[in-house]
């Protein structure tokens, strides 16, 4: 695989919130005259009415997190022709409705932008060392990994997506 971690790409793990508008501007400036931009933002869900999530706590493995995200960026670039990529992931304690993750991709055409954004989110969910703990009214619970997330990555690896 070509080791390319292009200058126009941004990978960041942070406690603070992020601004979609500022990241849109940065992506556009980094990419030059591109044709398609796809943004995905994940936010904290309440999940249940009877025992709602009050806050989400995100732990990570600092020495490994950015390294693993960068390797996903490299893999996305080896699959599609992309102009610029941004991944921002928050850690720490987040309230319901707050932003958790941003994946943004710009490309000449929408197919590459949509597919690569989906690929980055699918692989991030099963490869990057983040763990969520839900704080509910009844107590605190670690979130279990979902089998369909693993299945999604298997599909990418087998070339079915």
């Amino acid at each position: 695989m070509m080791e390319r971690d292009a200058l126009q790409d941004l990978v960041q793990v942070q406690r603070d919130d992020f601004s979609v508008a500022e990241h849109y501007q940065r992506l556009q400036q980094a990419a030059g005259n591109t044709g398609a931009v796809v943004f995905f933002v994940g936010t904290v869900r309440a999940e249940s009415e009877t025992d709602p999530v009050l806050a989400l706590e995100l732990e990570h493995y600092p020495a490994m997190t950015e390294k693993s995200l960068r390797s996903l960026v490299v893999e996305a670039r080896s699959r599609w022709s992309l102009d610029a990529i941004t991944i921002v992931h928050r850690v720490g304690k987040l309230a319901v409705g707050q932003q958790i993750v941003l994946v943004a991709v710009s490309s000449r055409h929408r197919d590459e932008a949509f597919l690569s954004a989906r690929f980055l989110m699918d692989t991030l969910k099963t490869q990057a060392p983040f763990w969520k703990k839900e704080h509910r009214r009844s107590g605190a619970y670690w979130v279990a990994a979902r089998e369909q997330d693993d299945a999604a990555v298997a599909e990418w690896r087998q070339g079915n997506r």
Binding site: M64, S68, F130, K133
Partner: protein, 82 residues
């Protein structure tokens, strides 16, 4: 020595965030759980309760991935970011 880190639920269950193991005991990532169980028998139940993931030098590892003196190894639950 090999530095072993624990994260998330596993760190809480063991009540420990890292220990050191002698390098000669661990040849591949798959040796880690049996060696830890020998070193800390009271961890056996937790360590054998689930297939924990392993990284070697901050890269996801398979059970056959080699481990060398000075490596940083980590054991953790399936990841749930995003």
């Amino acid at each position: 020595m090999i530095q072993v880190l624990f994260f998330a639920q596993l760190r809480e269950l063991l009540d420990c965030d890292s220990i050191e193991l002698p390098a000669q005991a661990v040849h591949v990532a798959g040796d880690l759980v049996p060696v830890l169980v020998t070193a800390r028998p009271h961890w056996a139940e937790v360590l054998q309760s689930k297939p924990w993931l392993v990284s070697v030098n901050q890269t996801m590892a398979k059970s056959t991935t080699g481990v060398n003196d000075g490596d940083e190894v980590a054991l953790f639950p399936p990841v749930t970011g995003g």
